[in-house]
């Protein structure tokens, strides 16, 4: 049976990414939108690791390392923001935060 090629990993990562993108655009709950962003980040991580293996280069994994750290920090801050916005209004959706309306 043929082994999975790098291309197949990349295709799977692309599918995951597209899923995440759709979720960010289509869901209204801020927390779920955040989770979809995490999906996209994971897709990217997968691509990097796949290519690191193909090219026998450790740099790809180092990048993923840093992406993980930054993603963690981002989640912390993002959730802090969401908490401070949604503290008093539990049924808030992304559409209610439309103060940027010009």
């Amino acid at each position: 049976m043929p082994a999975p090629t790098t291309l197949s990993y990349l295709v799977v990562a692309a599918l995951l990414f597209a899923n995440g993108a759709f979720g960010v655009m289509a869901r209204r709950n801020p927390l779920i939108m955040f989770m979809c962003i995490e999906l996209m980040l994971n897709a990217v991580n997968l691509s990097f690791v796949a290519l690191a293996r193909e090219l026998t280069d450790i740099d790809g994994q180092s990048i993923v390392f840093f992406v993980l750290v930054v993603a963690a920090a981002e989640v912390v801050v993002g959730l802090g923001i969401i908490v401070s916005i949604m503290r008093n209004r539990s049924s808030l959706t992304a559409d209610d935060l439309a103060e940027l309306k010009g």
């Binding site: 799977v12 899923n19 759709f22 955040f34 690791v49 750290v69 963690a72 539990s90």
Partner: protein, 178 residues
């Protein structure tokens, strides 16, 4: 064997992803996310990135998703969201088109840009001494603390900033005025 692992892990990943996007209850969505993350971790193992697989499970699935669940419970948003309506006209269609477009282009790019994607940069060559079991950690450490030590230090600063900032942000207002 490898193919089986690949297919199973991919299935976990994609099912979880679809679940995140389609579940109405946020708690269910968070749990789907855990499924996805596990799938990604399995992929990491099959791609010989053992350290990263471990970190993925510990940090992502273990800390980040737990954080998500904490916030969901804290704010009491575990009520289901009404997915039948979409207030923004044509948003769902546009989102679908955009996602499909992205998918198509990424696949095409990956397929046709093979020669570009296959050129190697100057990083540590994992094939050189990848025999022993600790090889991955050692190489990764050599890379992070060697070539990218400045970035490493900066990420530690970033983490401190993130923590301090979030504590400031999320304080209750009465405490802020005190």
């Amino acid at each position: 064997m490898q193919l089986v692992v690949f297919v199973v892990a991919s299935a976990m990943m994609l099912v979880g992803a679809v679940g995140v996007v389609t579940r109405r209850n946020p708690v269910h969505a968070a749990l789907s996310l855990v499924l996805t993350l596990f799938g990604v971790a399995v992929h990491f193992v099959s791609l010989e990135a053992y350290f990263l697989a471990a970190v993925q499970v510990i940090v992502y699935a273990g800390a980040i998703v737990v954080l998500f669940l904490f916030v969901i419970m804290l704010l009491g948003v575990d009520k289901a969201e009404d997915l039948r309506t979409e207030p923004l006209v044509a948003q769902r269609w546009l989102a679908g088109v955009a996602a499909l477009g992205l998918l198509g282009l990424l696949v095409v790019a990956a397929a046709r840009g093979a020669d570009v994607l296959r050129t190697r940069s100057e990083g540590l060559d994992t094939a050189l001494d990848g025999a022993s079991g600790d090889a991955n950690i050692q190489q990764l450490a050599r890379s992070v603390f060697g070539d990218y030590v400045v970035a490493f230090e900066l990420t530690s600063v970033l983490l401190v900033v993130a923590v301090v900032g979030t504590v400031m942000l999320a304080r209750k207002r009465a405490a802020a005025e005190a």
